[in-house]
């Protein structure tokens, strides 16, 4: 194994593969996790090594391990620390096997059988460990032999290209205080309507969470939206951004990312400008859920300025109920307000000559 060095200079210390059936809430019915250490001579090794190489670019959602008892303890992290600190393949395998069994125990029929792969590599002081889950799929394959086309069928094959592919990458210098943070890919997590399935990799298996809390994500999102509203070139762009805000009103329970919001609600041009604004690519792609209270306090009021100096503050989420906008033939927008008068106040204004 020690002669297996990746192009990035990581020497592969350990590679482990397990066939993981769904054992959550199920009579085991004779099914059990089957596992083995993968030798560098195995053809599949290079396939996994290639994924290991690209993992840093693939895994874009930053995650952090949870400590459910708030005592700095997380069972998955403990197994990872055991793997990276163990000197022998046998001891590493014991912890890897424990992780595979944990994955089986949180996997139900909807997620099906899976292939669980762990690759650990070391470069100078840094250790990288990659955890992957490939969901089984049926495939037809062909082979050409002596001008004959052979067609075959496999009822259980595994590929990274599946939208069910999941991965988690941790890279650190091993110590008692390391391997708390990592990056994950879960192609289901943002788009999927069934949150129970999509959260099982990060939440149920890894016992981890998005590094960005709902509150911080919403605060950052609000800050970005306000900045962009100020910088927008035209009223049309401002309308686009406000529409995005209104569109998110009912999405407070779904995982989103700034990238997904921009992709879904903004024009390509505005999308690209947002992307440039978020030079920190990690945040642009990181997944969080909108926090309704923060959303309300940060973005709850829309301020509208009219050419005659009138400035109105309207509740963002009831804007259409109390402000009517009508497009005039000259292209301008006529605004009219509706609602019962409740109060009047005087405030400082600009000095004018009487």
């Amino acid at each position: 194994m020690n002669d297996s060095t990746s192009e990035q200079g990581f020497e592969v210390k350990f590679a482990f593969v397990a066939w993981v059936p769904p054992l959550k809430l199920k009579d085991k019915n004779g099914l059990q996790v089957e596992s083995r250490i993968l030798d560098a001579k195995n053809k599949a090794f290079n396939y996994f090594l290639n994924i290991f190489e690209r993992a840093l670019g693939d895994c874009k959602t930053e995650i952090q391990f949870k400590s459910p008892q708030l005592n700095q303890s997380n069972v998955v992290r403990s197994h990872i620390l055991d793997i990276v600190s163990s000197k022998t393949q046998k001891r590493k395998e014991k912890s890897a096997r424990a992780l595979a069994e944990r994955l089986a125990s949180v996997t139900d029929e909807r997620s099906g059988n899976g292939l669980f792969v762990i690759v650990e590599g070391q470069k100078l002081q840094t250790t990288r460990i990659l955890l992957n889950r490939f969901r089984s799929d049926e495939v037809v394959f062909t082979r050409h032999s002596k001008q004959e086309l052979i067609i075959g069928f496999l009822d259980e094959a595994f590929t990274k290209r599946s939208r069910f592919y999941k991965s988690a990458l941790f890279e650190d210098i091993p110590s008692n205080g390391s391997f708390w943070r990592g990056f994950a890919i879960d192609k289901q997590i943002v788009a999927n309507t069934n949150r129970e399935i999509s959260s099982y990799w990060i939440t149920d298996f890894l016992n981890a969470q998005s590094a960005i809390t709902s509150v911080q994500g919403t605060m950052n999102f609000a800050k970005a939206m306000k900045t962009f509203l100020q910088k927008a070139d035209s009223l049309a762009e401002k309308e686009q951004i406000i529409s995005a805000l209104l569109g998110l009103k009912n999405k407070t329970d779904k995982p989103i990312s700034i990238e997904s919001i921009c992709r879904d609600y903004l024009s390509d041009d505005l999308y690209q400008r947002f992307k440039v604004y978020f030079r920190d690519d990690y945040f642009f792609n990181s997944v969080f859920t909108l926090d309704p209270d923060t959303y309300q306090s940060e973005l709850g009021s829309t301020i509208v300025g009219l050419e005659n100096g009138l400035i109105i503050t309207a509740p963002t989420f009831d804007y259409k109920k109390c402000v009517k906008e009508e497009l005039l033939p000259d292209g301008a927008t006529q605004v009219s307000l509706s609602g019962k008068l409740q109060d009047k106040k005087l405030a400082k204004g600009k000095r004018v000559e009487l």
């Binding site: 400590s67 708030l70 700095q72 110590s175 390391s178 708390w180 590094a211 809390t213 709902s214 605060m219």
Partner: protein, 202 residues
Amino acid sequence: MTDFYDAIEADLKNIAASLHDNLFHLLERVEHVDRIATRVKACMSFLDKAGKVVDNKPKYKKPFQEIQDILGARIVVFYKGDIEYVSKIIEKAYNPVEKQQLIPEDENEFGYEGLHYVLFVPPHILGQYRGVPNIPTFFELQIKTLYQHSWAQGEHGLGYKPGAQLDRDTKRKLAFVAAQSWGADEMLETLYQQIQRGKVNN
């Protein structure tokens, strides 16, 4: 070790300033927050802690990774009841890995009190320092009342090393001040609750 610390000191100060802004924004509309402060552990203090020995072995093998109060924050609130309110906001805004309610072990003792958290530095604050060697993953946050804070500061200012053997008279004097602080907190909380109830009843 000093060179490693010096290399990141400016970065640590920037992160501490960003943490302050973040905490301030989060709590600016919350009543009864007296102050929010963040700090970077002084180099000498860090070196002292990093050099600790337990059972003839270094306590920390990788001090920059294992010492979690290199970055520190403190929120001081008016009344005891405010601690829980603020702690809920903190737990929702940051990912905690540790929570400790520090109180004297013996019910007859008076001494240091405070709610301590170890929290992940939010990724957007870590931002440009991500990948810089020895930048901490965590920061320590303390939430205290005015009197808990004043007792702790006053006691710290006396210069006793933690765990130092103090004579009986000194111990009793320190316990007396702690008891007075504890009593002041209790009374203020009681008065605040009474006045609030009065407002409701009136």
